[in-house]
């Protein structure tokens, strides 16, 4: 650096520490006056740096050079040398607050356009550090193209370092417009400069681009501090310039600001981070945690985990009660009514089928209770918000979260709720993966299999293996939905992305009357809607399973060898009857197809009926096993499943591998006529429901096959 005395100006946003630096540099060699005629303080002093006495000016704080305020105008005018008795500075020290870097750099990029040497001072380094922000000055220097020094103005050695840096400065003028205005903006600037600013104003050359940008963004020249003529010509040129920007697809008011911030973002992206520091209301404080980018998703997962654990354990006593009620009721009817067809139909058909459905009422009530509570408290919208980043990555949308969560209850309201997603592609992907969410109709099957085949070992004191398996199945559904969405995102062409925006209702106590009313309503719908189909199917099934009537032949030990494949002597007559009934025959027909999944013909019948609705599976098994059981006392379906033995192999029909395979099949297969119908209605084509049915069922078959083959060979 030359040994010439320099004029050095300190410029920066208010409260960035300019005065502190000014005082540290000048010590007592300063004089404070007011700018002529106005009350803004003018602070000028001297400082010996590298043996040379330099003049230091502390400019009034400014956020930008667009001089909305008097302070800003003075800072600007001083920098471009149009202020009376003040020469253009030889070096501008732009002081920025390191803890709010991006915002402060806006002014810095403007000063860099003025054609004077610039040095960036990252002040308040201590504050930034305290907030966990670390900044690499070299990286920033490289991308901005100006020397950068990080200091804390209160630290004497930092001030020495600053002086050192100033004395080493080669006073290079930074590249103007480094932030990169786009072509239309550049064109507009040139037009304005050449057709009006240059010929008709006295604004210094170094300030022409900044002034052109200001005029383009503001659209008129109010409070211009320089002299100009041909006002009309000026106005029409500004209009033309703005039109050029608009033609280029930009918004004249915003283009410059956005481009500068984009540039700043690129410069600082790996150099700074944002932390919180708010005096906040309760809602704010809750939101600070619940919507936190790390804590938010963790809380969301915990909420789900506790919800499902609670559903499973709280509902159990109620379910046992209902189970007992139906078993006792069945026994009572069986013993009270005269023996015969009606007795069979009522006990084995209607009561058994209905009992198999009603038993899940407690779990469904608890599930909906939780969903309505979460909705009522305002948490549901936050869940959507926290999950948005993730959802967008996998090809969904933050708005997909609520429909997907509703999918836990039932795919149908969920699919209907996708109407809030404006973008068709986002919407269709959400619809296509939504049935993977573990709806309440799967719950009966999961609950039955888990209760029968997963041990109730306690883990970590509060969780049971059953609860965790239950939770795991829900997670499995979510993971499959995510994977499917991820794949579909690649298959379907991308359209215009709709960014997430949603209103977050204030937190409040849910209105309990509404919660209970809605929950009860759901329970009623489940019992009446599902109940109707299930009772009907139960009766049909009872018929198919009870007819044609076949008597088990009475055989001697010697005959047995011939009939070995058909039955064995240990088999009871009911089982024999069932195997030879219509249902049994049909189950047998499909058995070869489902055998590799670990399913026998009885499960086969259940699978077929459950394509009408998943929960029918349990009713079906109930009916089949009621018919099959020996006369006398009823036992619960769970016990029957555990004790069921394949008459041919003597092995239990259900192993853990079978149970898991079955649960996986139910998790993935498209077994719901109502969902198919609603997808048809919402997409207005058979293409999507057909595709949905095929891919989900194929995936289910494949996954169950793999699970069973691995499970049974372990």
């Amino acid at each position: 650096m030359s040994k010439e005395p320099l004029t050095i100006a300190l410029v920066g946003n208010p409260n960035t520490g300019k005065s502190t630096i000014f005082n540290a540099l000048t010590g007592l060699r300063q004089k404070i006056a007011n700018y002529p005629g106005i009350t803004v303080e003018q602070k000028v002093g001297t400082s010996i740096i590298g043996g040379v006495l330099h003049k230091i000016i502390d400019l009034p704080g400014a956020y930008s050079l667009n001089y909305k305020k008097l302070d800003e105008r003075i800072a600007y005018e001083t920098l471009i040398g149009s202020y009376e008795h003040e020469e253009i500075p030889d070096l501008a020290l732009v002081v920025v607050d390191s803890s709010n870097l991006d915002r402060n750099l806006y002014l810095a990029t403007q000063v860099m356009d003025l054609g004077i040497p610039v040095m960036l001072i990252l002040n308040m380094s201590d504050v930034a550090k305290g907030k966990g922000i670390s900044i690499n000055p070299d990286l920033i220097s490289n991308s901005l193209g100006v020397p950068v020094v990080a200091i804390s103005a209160k630290n004497k050695s930092d001030i020495d370092q600053l002086k050192q840096k100033i004395s080493e400065s080669d006073l290079e003028v930074p590249e103007p417009l480094k932030w990169g205005p786009d072509d239309s903006l550049k064109e507009a600037m040139n037009l304005l400069i050449n057709e009006w600013i240059k010929p008709y104003t006295n604004i210094p050359e170094s300030a022409r681009s900044i002034e052109a940008l200001r005029l383009i963004s503001e659209g008129e020249f109010n409070n211009a501090f320089y002299q100009f003529e041909k006002e009309e010509k000026g106005k029409s040129t500004i209009k033309k310039a703005r039109e050029l920007v608009e033609k280029g697809g930009g918004n004249p008011m915003a283009t410059e600001v956005l481009s500068r911030y984009n540039f700043i973002g690129e410069c600082t992206s790996n150099a700074s981070s944002i932390t919180s520091q708010t005096k906040a209301s309760l809602t704010d404080r809750i939101d600070a945690v619940v919507t936190h980018k790390v804590a938010g998703p963790v809380i969301f997962t915990l909420v789900l985990l506790f919800m499902f654990q609670a559903i499973f354990s709280w509902a159990t006593p109620f379910m046992d009660m209902i189970d007992l009620l139906f078993v006792e009721g069945g026994n009572w009817v069986a013993n009270t009514l005269p023996e015969g067809m009606l007795n069979d139909l009522l006990v084995d058909g209607v009561i058994a089928g209905l009992g198999g459905v009603v038993i899940f009422l407690p779990q469904i009530l608890f599930l909906f209770f939780f969903i309505y509570v979460l909705e009522g408290t305002g948490y549901m919208a936050r869940a959507a918000f926290v999950m948005d980043g993730f959802m967008t990555k996998v090809g969904l949308h933050g708005r997909s979260v609520v429909p997907l969560m509703s999918g836990f209850a039932c795919a149908i309201p969920g699919i209907m709720a996708t109407r809030t997603i404006e973008n068709w592609r986002d919407r269709i992907i959400t619809i296509m993966v939504l049935p993977f969410m573990a709806c309440s109709a799967r719950l009966p099957v999961y609950a039955l299999m888990i209760a029968a085949f997963i041990p109730s070992t306690t883990i970590l004191g509060i969780f049971t293996l059953q609860g965790i398996t239950f939770f795991g199945l829900y997670i499995f559904g979510i993971v499959m939905a995510v994977l499917a969405a991820f794949v579909m995102k690649r298959i379907f062409p991308t359209g215009q992305q709709t960014p997430f925006i949603m209103e977050l209702p204030a937190y409040k106590m849910p209105k309990w009357s509404v919660v209970f009313q809605n929950t009860a309503e759901r329970g009623k719908v489940f019992i009446t809607e599902a109940g109707k189909i299930i009772v009907a199917i139960s009766i049909v099934l009872w018929f198919l399973a009870s007819f044609p009537k076949t008597e088990m032949p009475v055989l001697t030990q010697t005959d047995n060898t011939e009939y070995n494949s058909s039955f064995d002597v240990t088999e009871n007559p009911e089982s024999y009857q069932l195997r030879h009934s219509f249902a049994g025959q049909f189950g047998k027909i499909i058995e070869p197809v489902i055998e590799p999944l670990g399913f026998d013909w009885k499960i086969g019948i259940g699978l077929i009926t459950s394509f009408a609705a998943r929960e029918v599976m349990v009713g079906t098994l109930n009916t089949i096993y009621s018919i099959e059981e020996e006369d006398g006392e009823s036992s619960t379906l769970k016990e029957k499943l555990i004790n069921d033995v394949n008459p041919e192999t003597g092995q239990p029909v259900y192993s853990i591998a079978t149970a898991i395979s079955l649960m996986i099949f139910f998790a993935l297969a498209m077994q719901c006529m109502s969902t198919i119908a609603i997808v048809k209605r919402e997409t207005n084509s058979w293409k999507w429901p057909t595709a949905m049915f095929v891919y989900m069922t194929a995936l289910a078959y494949l996954s169950s096959f793999i699970a069973f083959q691995i499970g049974s060979n372990l």
Binding site: A254, V257, A288, T291, K293, A381, G398, E503
Partner: protein
Amino acid sequence: MMHPLSNGKEGEEIVVRCLDCHCDDVCRLNELGCVEGAQGRIISNQKNVILQLGEARLAIASTLAKTILVSSK
């Protein structure tokens, strides 16, 4: 001075100045009360932004927040 909402500080009081996003998004923002001149406070800014506008609290994706120009009050 204007800056994008995405550059706002938590707790900052702002005035919405200009929406420079896709027309559909402008409409949605307007519907939710995010119109030019609306005053509000930034509740959180962790990529996605939560903005309090009067009684309404809006969650706004970072991509969108970058196109909403605001100024400090």
